[in-house]
Symmetry: C2
Subunit: 281 residues, 2 copies
């Protein structure tokens, strides 16, 4: 897929979401534009959405609407676990997922981000990471999540995969082998939650993933929630567990001050439209 | 708000969704571009979304994703009514809502569209209207919905308002006086469903509407469902009735062959995120 972000005179950032359509943002200021060993990292300021992060021309998060994504990646899993003491986040370098995780009574949260430059850029231009790192409950690892889960001796109550989409460099984080390894890193009663891509654009990937997740987990659930600035609107997540079926019962714990998540939203997220149910089989 | 659609060389259609951001579509072909007494009507062909209709530079519908909107405007109300014999649609000139209405055992459906040129353009470039008009159960009225409901002697089991957004020429269709009149056109047990605008962009309008709808109807519900190509993703609808609370019980009737709507989706649509609940009071 053709992607782009800053145009030539740097007055507009564009993301091709399909080969022939996408979104644009007028740029008030380019705040950051560096290329790491892994990707091009751009942060621009837009009047409506505030600071906006692009990786390789794909929008990752905006100040205005980040809570939709981060609350809905984190709380369905964390609020469903009776005692989430140890949590692993793979990816999530902007720090939004970590911030939400620490709203629960977690003893220790590891965040494994492959690109140290993303951390640097986000520490400077988004305010989410600093308070979490100062909490004494978070551990930052700069490294490959796929290697980390093979080498760590640690096991986790909840594992969150806050990766980029099931195309390009993150493809490995959407494949069966990765999920099989993740499963071995779960403590009894554990839960995995992942972002799985766009409802509209990644349907074939959801179908393929559904086939192997059904063989790996007793409760392999897909759920949906909107992210206004993500490709064509509706986002797909997975909730994976052998112990907990999130469609039964209610969340056990709701942190104060959330903007999006509540018990009704939790239940509603697992209701899938007919065309997706047909795809998932 | 600054809007636009075709750019100068007609190779791209753009919609400003906020003053500094929006969506773009590469144009394979401009199929229609006329200005009526009411608005500019453009239909373009895009490789991903098929035929795309813009009114005054605002995207109304696309062939690829129209079912999200039309199923979710129509079926929550129609499937909740035990015997929807007479149905009124205000607006909806593209014909998608009418097509969905006629999937229920409706005796007669009136569609009141203010702009005859929209009808002509959509009959030519979208295939939805012709079979409905041939069914013998639909009556097309070219006229102002606001006038129609004052003058008609008819009463309806379900009234659907498929208008444009709560800004510009359709503003009147989002105000208290209009809803008060609509209510007098309901038969006992009747239901009104309306599109209410964007979750992200029209929050102040939702708050204002919520205040007067609570005084007019016993069950004034807001519900949500995504429309991939609508401004920043999540769409707001209202369900208004003195007789039926859509959050209790299940839909009574599910037509065959729907792509989106099902009983779980119906229930889920009424789960609102915290920030919207706070706005609605």
């Amino acid at each position: 897929m053709k992607r782009s972000s800053l145009n030539k005179d740097r007055s507009e950032a564009r993301e091709f979401q399909t080969p022939t359509s996408g979104i644009f943002f007028k740029v008030r200021k380019v705040l950051y534009d560096q290329t790491s060993s892994f990707q091009r990292i751009e942060i621009v300021a837009n009047r409506e959405f505030g600071h906006v992060l692009f990786l390789d021309g794909l929008l990752q998060t905006t100040e205005k609407d980040e809570f939709y994504y981060h609350e809905m990646l984190v709380h369905p899993a964390l609020a469903s676990h009776p005692n989430p003491r140890k949590v692993l986040i793979i990816g999530g370098g902007d720090g939004g997922a970590l911030r939400e995780v620490l709203k629960h009574p977690v003893e220790r949260a590891w965040m494994v981000e492959i690109d140290g430059l993303v951390i640097d850029a986000c520490r400077e231009h988004f305010g989410w990471l600093e308070p979490s790192l100062a909490s004494g409950r978070a551990e930052l690892v700069i490294g490959d999540g796929n290697v980390f889960i093979r080498e760590t001796k640690e096991k986790f109550d909840v594992i969150l995969v806050d990766s980029s989409d099931p195309v390009g460099p993150s493809t490995v984080l959407h494949e069966k082998d990765f999920y099989r390894k993740l499963r071995t890193r779960l403590r009894p009663g554990g839960i995995i939650a992942t972002q799985a891509g766009s409802l509209v654009l990644h349907q074939d990937q959801h179908a393929a993933k559904s086939r192997f997740l059904k063989r790996l987990f007793k409760h392999p659930r897909f759920y949906l929630s909107p992210v206004p600035t993500y490709p064509v609107g509706m986002w797909v997540y997975t909730f994976l567990s052998d112990a907990i079926d999130p469609t039964i019962g209610r969340p056990l714990r709701i942190p104060e001050g959330l903007k999006y998540f509540n018990p009704d939203v939790h239940r509603a997220a697992f209701a899938l439209p007919n065309f997706l149910k047909a795809k998932l089989g």
